[in-house]
């Protein structure tokens, strides 16, 4: 092994990516996988908006419309937003804490492949023509009544992808607890690391309920269970509870890393230490904790009774407090700073008003009596798109520009980045702002078409035009990525010039062992402190140059996930075909054999020799 670039055949390169356990490469795989599903989910969104651009449109059928809204929601949450965030976490968090990899590199790879095969499984439903059609929440009475294999695809696909997410979450927890560089105490961790930590803890507690819920749904649909079938003594409301016990923390799992990304951006481009860092940490933890106490606010109209509704309404509104703390801290970070409005900063500045609007409508719905009015109307659609697009997607786009040099070694074009921002930002507000009023005017959610002259025609047209603006923004971004990759102009360690945390003190992209010597951390914003004290490299080593232990790559994670993927088809067709049961057993046995192979093989990794590290250091002029 050598870090010097060698010419490799296509097959060798492909094998390298399929077997990689390097957190930077897995980060890129997550990014590409998530980006792919983001485009698919985006196309589904465009089809939805085109169907609704005029009254009584016959562009898609009612059934196909249900497929589209279900797959749009499911794809965007599970297969686009989560993996894209995991991509940035993988690529950046180990660097921010001064580690050489995550705690369990093998598990990291397994997490990615399970996400990938789960997503693939879900989307194969389009080719079979039986697509999930009960909404992304898949409420049990509806999903049990759904014909064909659509919901089976949902249950099994999400089960596989969800397993991968749970592994990734545990991996980040262990990494952040155990692998911080010397001197990096909890209260010196960059905020992106902190939010990743809290989001991972939430994954740890929120995904097992999803796993259970999906298993119960799988049993009900494929194995003759009756957990949610009220005719047989089941309870359909239980699904709603289980889903939202997972589902509400899930949206905070998405938004917390987004908060972390924006905290980094505000701090870097205001050239200031993050205002109120301890309160930011506290607010993050508090949001994470309260996120588990509010799930029933999605179910106010179910009929839980006034006491339950009141308790959950109060708990919901309490979350506005730590979120408000964060908003003010960001504003005060910018205040008096030396601001440069780069593309990431532009996204961050656009994020604050957008997210506040989404948050305020959230508090409105948190008031149970008002929620009875707003329930199932377009107001809800507007609200959650404001928090998820205005929060999470803006953060993902901002991080794409901010971390592109660290992940790929080149800079995205700033001018094109700003074009993307303006198209996306204007399009976003154009699409969703008007939907609040559509809700007030009585337009219900999840309707396939509407009749003319109810006062909704113009508003829906405006909304659709906005969606096209967003699409143009994304297309410009894709173009930006392509020309940047073709030009391939390599950049230095800290292309933004004001990097504060450890990832900006090493090469872009970093060598495969990240740090030649583990750095010593002397405070929050470690690199900034070192630079202010005259250490141009930004790093103080905590150890002499010595051999580095590294894990070996492995194809086994891919094979394990493939086995589950195959078993999924078996489970689905078990009752109606002869081969179903055989395929189910074959897939599971395949996975178990792969697991046994992993357990029995004694893979202790390898060492990078000191000489090679010294050679790399010399090539870089003696700097880290």
């Amino acid at each position: 092994m050598s870090s010097v670039a060698q010419k490799k055949s296509f097959g060798a390169t492909l094998w390298d990516w399929l077997t990689t356990v390097d957190h930077k490469k897995i980060g890129i795989l997550y990014f590409l996988g998530g980006g792919f599903f983001f485009v698919i989910g985006g196309i589904e969104a465009m089809l939805i908006r085109w169907q609704l651009h005029k009254p009584d449109n016959d562009f898609v059928s009612a059934g196909l419309y249900n497929d589209l809204i279900t797959m749009h929601g499911t794809t965007m949450i599970f297969l686009a937003a989560m993996p894209l965030l995991f991509g940035f976490m993988n690529a950046i968090v180990p660097l921010q804490i001064g580690a050489r990899d995550v705690a369990f590199p093998f598990l990291n790879s397994l997490g990615f492949w399970m996400f990938f095969f789960g997503g693939l499984f879900l989307n194969i439903s389009w080719f079979i023509g039986e697509v999930p059609d009960a909404g992304w929440t898949s409420y049990a009475s509806l999903s049990l009544a759904s014909q064909g294999h659509g919901i089976d695809f949902y249950a099994i696909g999400l089960q596989i992808a969800g397993g991968g997410t749970l592994m990734a979450g545990i991996n980040f927890l262990v990494t952040i607890i155990n692998m911080r560089a010397p001197g990096m105490t909890y209260m010196r961790m960059p905020l992106f690391t902190w939010t990743t930590f809290v989001a991972s803890a939430m994954i740890l507690f929120a995904f097992p309920p999803l796993t259970i819920g999906l298993f119960l749904l799988t049993f009900d649909r494929m194995f003759g269970g009756n957990f949610f079938n009220h005719e047989m003594g089941g309870n359909t409301i239980i699904w709603e509870h289980i889903f939202w016990i997972f589902g509400h923390p899930e949206v905070y799992i998405l938004i917390l890393p987004a908060f972390g990304i924006f905290s980094e951006i505000f701090s870097i481009f205001s050239r200031k230490r993050l205002f109120g860092y301890p309160s930011m940490v506290f607010a993050t933890v508090l949001i994470g904790f309260l996120g588990f106490m509010v799930w029933a606010h999605h179910m106010f109209t179910v009929g839980l009774g006034p006491t339950a509704n009141a308790i959950f309404a109060v708990a919901t509104m309490a979350i506005a407090v730590p979120t408000g703390v964060k908003i003010f801290n960001w504003l005060l970070t910018i205040w008096g700073g030396s601001i440069t409005v780069t593309t990431p900063m532009l996204y961050a500045l656009g994020f604050i008003p957008s997210f506040v609007m989404g948050g305020v409508t959230g508090v409105m719905q948190g008031a149970a009596p008002l929620d009875y009015q707003l329930h199932d109307s377009y107001f809800i659609v507007a609200h959650f798109h404001y928090v998820i697009v205005g929060g999470v997607v803006l953060a993902i786009l901002a991080a794409t520009h901010l971390y592109w040099p660290k992940m790929f070694g080149t800079m995205l074009n700033e001018a094109l980045g700003k074009v993307t921002f303006w198209f996306f930002f204007i399009g976003f507000h154009m699409t969703f702002l008007i939907q609040h009023w559509l809700g007030f005017w009585g337009m219900p959610r999840r309707v396939w078409k509407f009749m003319p002259n109810q006062g909704w025609d113009m508003a829906n047209l405006i909304s659709t035009i906005g969606a096209f603006f967003m699409a143009i923004g994304v297309i410009v971004l894709v173009y930006n990525v392509i020309i940047t990759s073709i030009k391939n102009v390599k950049v230095a360690n800290d292309p933004w010039g004001d990097g504060r945390t450890l990832e900006w003190a090493i090469e872009s992209p970093p060598l495969y062992y990240n740090f030649a010597q583990t750095p010593l951390v002397r405070g929050l914003d470690s690199v900034w402190i070192e630079k202010m004290e005259g250490n141009a490299s930004g790093l103080t080593p905590a150890e002499p140059v010595k051999d580095i232990h590294m894990p070996n790559g492995s194809i086994i994670p891919l094979l394990m996930s493939l086995g589950l993927f195959i078993a999924g088809f078996g489970a689905m067709f078990r009752t109606e075909t002869e081969w179903g049961l055989g395929v189910l057993i074959f897939g599971l046995v395949f996975t178990f054999i792969a697991m046994a192979a992993r357990s029995l093989q004694d893979d202790t990794g390898y060492y990078i020799k000191k000489e090679e590290i010294l050679r790399d250091l010399k090539r870089k002029g003696g700097q880290n």
């Binding site: 607890i177 803890a201 409301i237 016990i245 904790f289 588990f292 029933a296 339950a308």
Partner: protein, 115 residues
Amino acid sequence: MADIQVYKRTPAEQSLAQRRAKQSMRGQVMMFSLMIFLTLISFSMVVAHEQGVAGFSKYFIVPILMLFAAVQVGLQLYYFMHMSEKGHGIPQMFMFTGALLGFLIPLTFATIVWW
């Protein structure tokens, strides 16, 4: 492979480690006897209830059994799984968070779904 570093304890460290091990062993044996004793009481209470001994009604022994069970879980965690020792703050935090959620969610279900 890099050389494996072998660290040799000084006599003082060795004696300290031995003393600690001894203390820990003493604690474990004591707790083990206590747990056996608690188990004995639990079983005798149930037997007394079965035999119809006066005063051992169901409403008396069920809460007591629950209490003993909780104490046993605590002893198990703190003495046999070493949670009382240093450096277990993070696992404790996660376990207590999990236990809290594991308590609150069934409580909610009991009050608003099943009642």
